[in-house]
């Protein structure tokens, strides 16, 4: 092999801007629908608990809070982001978002509770 065969790659890289990104100032767009943090719509839930039954890591807990009122507690530390609960939900009460920056220093903040708010809109609370 002739010496310098890889030279054009070297020169090409030399005059290119650095490949590293200035994260977190510059954020990369992930292509397609990345499975991120879950979202729960309490008004759609019928309390069948299929999501609880199918969750591989036991990250989701549905609690009855009143007549036809349900709240969901999702443990983001346990969740493996497979979105099986979204597939199995017969009413579409669960949805995955593209939110993937979920690191927390405080473990308690990883437990997210979704419950009905005063105007029947979903409220997100960290317990």
């Amino acid at each position: 092999m002739k010496p310098g065969r890889m030279m054009h790659q070297v020169l090409h890289s030399l005059f290119k801007k650095p490949a590293t990104n200035l994260y977190p100032y510059e954020k990369l767009e992930m292509a397609g629908k990345i499975r991120g943090k879950l979202k729960f719509y309490p008004q759609k839930c019928i309390g069948c608990k299929l999501c609880m039954r199918d969750c591989p890591s036991g990250a989701i807990t549905i609690k009855k809070t009143g007549e036809k009122q349900f709240e969901a507690e999702i443990d983001l530390g346990k969740c493996i982001y497979c979105a099986q609960c979204v597939d199995v939900c017969p009413k579409g009460a669960l949805e995955f978002t593209q939110d993937i920056e979920l690191a927390e220093l405080d473990g308690a903040k990883l437990k997210v509770v979704f419950r009905n708010g005063p105007q029947d809109s979903p409220q997100e609370k960290t317990s």
Binding site: Q9, G32, K33, I34, R53, D54, P56, C82, V88
Partner: protein
């Protein structure tokens, strides 16, 4: 090192040359290896047992985490066995999508291997180049499946996501880029004298030994064994695709490199056919929650070789037995043979050349008592208790510290 001295050195479980925790005990005479003992078990996670405690749907995601590199291989292999027991006929389109993801995974695994092999022989530029190119596939997999590593595209009875027309075009575009770069790597591997000198004749596994030791995948194919599950026992859509099984007669690490880079070209060929021939139709059929009683063995050609899953069901929602035979377990005996009478300095590349995945392979620790011929299997709790008691005897005792910190609210 004196040539007359014989000694044993331990390598691992935590060792800079190994990427995964595994223990090798090497008997040396001078710098020559007399024999290698491999101790599996440092990465044992009890996945097979855990599968019996969970339902089939939960098991898909657990099985997928047997290995980070070939996650699709394990989940497809598992699901094929479940579908066999439940007599499910999956739609044609689902078969093609499984094949597509499987081949993309093979590309990413082989590129990763090429980089690791380059790194082990000190050719770090190759590592940088191949891992840069691997990002093209990783982005593609993220776009198609929704995750870079654990794709979760399989479900019992089919697949979970469709491939849109735009995505199909993206795949073809990426394959064009990768094909051009792979040809460049083939050029380097076949003409670069330093690579040839470093790899030729290292880690020799003859054709007879490959057959005798049941080597699988590129390790066997580099010893002239034409064995490939995709052709021998076609699954998914492989039966209707045309491709060649790459073999080589070098029998060494150089041969394994050639087999892997040439297999990349075959994968591009397969992906182009898959995109062209992919039929329209539904993505999955409805699967029952309770799988009828029965048993099945499923085979899958993972990037590292033949993967095998055995499932026994008893008519409930949970399997009665799940058995995983990952490709590294089949190849690990061959490593012992390859290293015999070689130099210690060749060890990292010879181990790396089978593309080992010890997280897939690790099994329970079994203790053989040499004096009484007794065998004992150590459970995790026993080992835990033993380790605490041993350290307590040697003066490390956490009892007091535990009491103090418990009060402090830790």
């Amino acid at each position: 090192m004196h040539d007359s001295h014989k000694f044993k050195i331990p390598m691992g479980p935590q060792h800079p040359a190994l990427k995964e925790p595994e223990s090798f005990s090497i008997a040396l005479k001078g710098e020559k290896i007399l024999g290698v003992e491999i101790r599996l078990g440092y990465n044992h996670r009890g996945i097979e047992k855990a599968c019996e405690e969970r339902s089939y749907i939960q098991d898909i995601y657990l099985i997928e985490r047997v290995c980070g590199i070939c996650s699709h291989s394990h989940s497809t292999c598992f699901i094929q066995a479940v579908e066999e027991i439940a007599c499910l006929q999956i739609p044609e389109r689902a078969k093609y999508i499984r094949t597509l993801i499987g081949e993309l995974e093979r590309i990413h695994s082989h590129l990763l291997w090429l980089g690791v092999a380059g790194h082990e022989i000190g050719f770090d530029t190759l590592l940088m180049y191949t891992w840069r190119d691997r990002e093209v596939v990783m982005d593609l997999l993220a776009e198609l499946t929704g995750n870079r590593v654990n794709y979760a595209i399989n479900t019992i009875g089919g697949v979970r996501r469709d491939v849109s027309e735009q995505q199909a075009l993206d795949v073809l575009k990426a394959v064009d880029i990768l094909e051009e770069r792979t040809k460049y790597y083939i050029g380097i591997a076949t003409t670069e004298t330093s690579i040839i000198k470093r790899l030729l004749g290292v880690g020799v596994l003859s054709h007879e030994d490959a057959l005798r030791l049941d080597a699988v995948g590129p390790t066997a194919r580099a010893s002239g064994v034409t064995r490939d599950v995709r052709r021998d026992d076609p699954y998914a859509a492989y039966g209707s695709l045309s491709f060649d099984v790459i073999t080589d007669n070098h029998n060494d690490v150089y041969g394994r490199t050639l087999v892997r880079v040439k297999e990349l070209l075959e994968s591009f060929k397969i992906i182009r056919q898959v995109i062209k021939d992919m039929p329209a139709g539904p993505l999955s059929v409805k699967a029952p929650r309770k799988i009828p009683a029965g048993e099945a063995l499923s085979r899958y050609e993972a990037p590292r070789g033949e993967d095998m899953h055995y499932i026994k069901s008893n008519g409930t929602e949970k399997p009665e037995r799940v058995k995983v035979r990952a490709p590294t377990l089949a190849n690990v005996q061959a490593v012992k043979h390859m290293l015999k009478d070689r130099y210690l300095a060749d060890m990292p590349i010879v181990i790396a050349a089978i593309d080992p995945c010890f997280s897939c392979t690790d099994r329970l620790i079994s203790v053989d008592y040499l004096d009484t011929n007794r065998k004992q299997i150590i459970k995790w709790q026993d080992l835990h208790a033993y380790s605490i008691a041993w350290h307590r005897r040697h003066g490390i005792d956490f009892t007091k510290l535990n009491k103090e910190t418990r009060g402090a609210g830790f």
